[in-house]
Symmetry: C2
Subunit: 419 residues, 2 copies
Amino acid sequence: MGIIVQKYGGTSVGTPERMRVVADRIVKAADRGDRVVVVVSAMGDFTDDLIELAAQIDPEPPEREMDMLLATGEQVSIALLAMAIHATGYRAISFTGPQVGIMTDHGHTKAKILEVRADRVRAALEDGQIVIVAGFQGMTPDGQITTLGRGGSDTTAVAIAAGVGADVCEIYTDVDGVYTADPRVVPDARKIDEISYEAMLELAANGAGVLNLRAVEFARNHGVVIHCRSSFTDIPGTIVREAYDSMEQAIISGVTCDSSEAKVTIRDVPDHPGVAAAVFTRMAESNVNVDMIIQNISEAGTTDISFTVPETDLVRARRAADAVVQELGAREWVVDESIAKISLIGAGMKTHPGVAAQMFRALSDAGVNIDLISTSTIRVTCVVSGDDAATAVRALHASFGLSEDEITIESIPGCGEGE
Amino acid sequence: MGIIVQKYGGTSVGTPERMRVVADRIVKAADRGDRVVVVVSAMGDFTDDLIELAAQIDPEPPEREMDMLLATGEQVSIALLAMAIHATGYRAISFTGPQVGIMTDHGHTKAKILEVRADRVRAALEDGQIVIVAGFQGMTPDGQITTLGRGGSDTTAVAIAAGVGADVCEIYTDVDGVYTADPRVVPDARKIDEISYEAMLELAANGAGVLNLRAVEFARNHGVVIHCRSSFTDIPGTIVREAYDSMEQAIISGVTCDSSEAKVTIRDVPDHPGVAAAVFTRMAESNVNVDMIIQNISEAGTTDISFTVPETDLVRARRAADAVVQELGAREWVVDESIAKISLIGAGMKTHPGVAAQMFRALSDAGVNIDLISTSTIRVTCVVSGDDAATAVRALHASFGLSEDEITIESIPGCGEGE
């Protein structure tokens, strides 16, 4: 008899009717003999309604009070879900994040989990109860209520799974797993049965929205097996776990597309030592999150410096760019908001140096111009025009045969396999 | 510089606009140099909406989970009120009941406060903050969230006032104090400026809805001065405190009317020892809350036993009466739901034995028939027909001159003053 953790999002519990469906699924797991812990988010629009109410009262509400307010959303869900399970004749008990000892730092609205004291969860499980835990929330060591920010309920689920030593943490969502590409863009994208933490982290960090990045990081650090699956069907989804010797490690796990960044270019910067440092110190001071950076070849003593930033940081980035242009005597800055970051990800590519070259060729054959390039040991990212994004994703998906069981890596002169 | 506790009900904070009005009133108190603790209820219909949601999911929800659910109502209020104060430029901090150490027993949905550990409130006050505390909720010593039942926020306010040693606990409501009778029934009813705990307890227990009975009991036990006043005006309301020597103790404080009970009569019960015990043991076993009891003079070896019960207990009372009739061989039981308990209350009547007689005469003169009578040292209660209730209240209010400053006690032969 094992322990499983199940996590349901706000859409899954958005109405009393849906809550009953979720309760039935939970009870089925209990019937199979598992001890079940459920982590749940706020119902549908509950959180948005509270944010709207707060905005009417205080245009800049203190973050501590926002956490006090928003934590109620999950508390409503856990109580109602415990009732829905009770109505089926099973015993259930609900706990808030503070009650089950989700201890966090003081980073209100985006707190980080420091520790999970899962004694109360364990005691309730041993008492034969189904345990319902509020996602998204925790408590500082001095007793302040905190929330964990976007995707926080996934992180709560993984943290609780680590705390109680669960066999698996099932993350229920509206898709049935992690795909080799977004099925809306690539209709023959293939569901990935099993993937390593490492590859999943790169997927999550580069635009695959199914699993929250911090939750995957937490799972990797604590060895929690995640099963990402659909709340509408019983078919298995995608297992995320430590890579093991006999694991069928795909050379390429998938292609992602991230359209949430913009490209900033500083034109004709005098090319002397310390210029890049000056630009990015200024950006950091302005709290701008710089991602990819490229510096073009110098012409006539000046150079262009380009970098990408999240669109949400653009207001601050423009202000900082103004200062940089003036300070360094550059010509101007320009912003391109219509860019897409296309990434090819796979732990297997470490040993297949042909991958990057094949990627560039596939994009070229599809008529897609590459703007910036960055690589890690298990990822190659190209920035392309936003208009070319879908074409680029489809071209790469086809070129590497991602819809097949066997990945196609071409043999490229000078950088083939085994070299 | 003193500490004051202010309590606002759900109507006072029902909308963002009203919340701003309350915030302004709080800030004014802070401007006067007082340290302010505010206790607040759930916004308007918030709690009712949650109860409705729960009913859709589970017809008989566990009380522990109801408390988990309903406690969110006050948590939303405190966060938003703290924001409303923040928006005025003042510093405020909100706390849930568990956070400020409102420790209760395990009586979910109607828990009793065992202890208040007000350290966090005191620390925040010393830090110069306005402290906002969630009413109606607490925590058991083993960390379960509880609610205090009807009127619970008044009790929280008094308990916090006791915990921090406040100079006064101001209970804000939609009327401007405690009256000698319900002003809707008696237009010239007079506001009482000052009243003892003892008389206020009898008023609250007998249908004067302004202050919660348990809150007054808690105030008496801990010597907390209550100021019951309107949230719409600045005029003083009614002070409730320990009677002191020079206190202008009214002989009669007021007339109350309680229409929430029904009268049950068991007819032709064989009149032998142990009959009353048998009836009321059966009622107690059926969890029926019996209030007034009268046993008529025996005729031909049988007697009638009448008693009043809350209308909410009637279903159980009828079932128990069936059993009693069968068990004792009585003729039948009858229920009269249209009764009213009219009470005359005043700590001063202890030394004025003419009061009861004057009350009976006034009712008789007004053509009101008295059904049952019960008395305590500071109260005389008559049960009359519900149709006569308003006539009875007005007759008593006039007979004792309650709209004047001086109470009128007639000299009655045989039971006059000083006898």
